[in-house]
Amino acid sequence: MVNRIVVGAHYGVGSWLAQRITAVIMAVYSVILLVMFMTGRPISYGVWKDLFSQGWMRVATLLFAVSLAWHAWVGVRDIIMDYARPDGLRLALEVITILMIAAYIGWTVQILWR
């Protein structure tokens, strides 16, 4: 196995680890939600609204959104670093990505705590 150092200034390995931990969090959330939808009552507006007005569901969904943000940042940054070679283009795409992630998080919070 490759010797990976997780602490210190080796932030590449930190990102690698963060991407995997956030992946597990999102996988667990996805499976729980899927099982709930498959086994629960048919979804009417009331059921849907009640589900997202519960505290644990709001917090779980926010944890999912934050995991997604971190996970996507690592992944999209990898894609940008692979294909966007000029520094200016790379910087512009990274800034756009960060803005999109911030917008997604803000939107999620707005939806959950309305």
Binding site: M1, R20, A23, V24, A27, S30, Y45, W48, K49, F52, L68, A72, G75, V76, I79, M100, Y104, W107, T108, Q110, I111, R114
Partner: protein
């Protein structure tokens, strides 16, 4: 890695056409490439689309009914189907990568077999949920 090897000029043969039709990539390469493509699609446009749907459906009873009739349109269902495939593939391939990180299934025959499993399971999941939404 020695610096001499890094300086050696490498052949570049990276046209998309060649990648798709001339070079026969092994199955694990397709899993990896589609993991990246599906991940990019999930980030944009699907994350934004789903947030819009969640926003509208939770806002009011009319919004919920609107989303329901909107998702009943064939074009929206096709979009949903593509989302389901992207999520399923990204999920299955991701679990495979997690196992590879733990040194599980790194022998070539196993790596090939798990690649075909990722394709099969994600297609089956897409078919199942596609059938459920149609």
């Amino acid at each position: 890695m020695s610096s001499a090897a890094a300086k050696k000029p490498r052949p570049k043969y990276l046209s998309l056409f060649a990648l798709l039709f001339e070079i026969r990539l092994p199955a694990p390469a397709w899993v990896s490439g589609l993991h990246r493509a599906s991940g990019a699609l999930l980030f944009f446009p699907f994350a934004a689309w789903l947030l819009y749907l969640l926003d509208t459906s939770l806002a009011s009873e009319q919004g919920f009914a609107h989303v329901r009739s909107y998702l009943a349109m064939p074009i929206a269902k096709l979009g949903l189907l593509l989302f389901i495939w992207a999520y399923a593939h990204h999920f299955c391939a991701g679990i495979r990568f997690l196992l590879l990180d733990l040194n599980k299934g790194i022998d070539l025959p196993q790596a090939r077999m798990t690649s075909y499993m990722v394709f099969a399971v994600s297609i089956l999941l897409t078919a199942f949920f596609g059938w459920r939404i149609w």
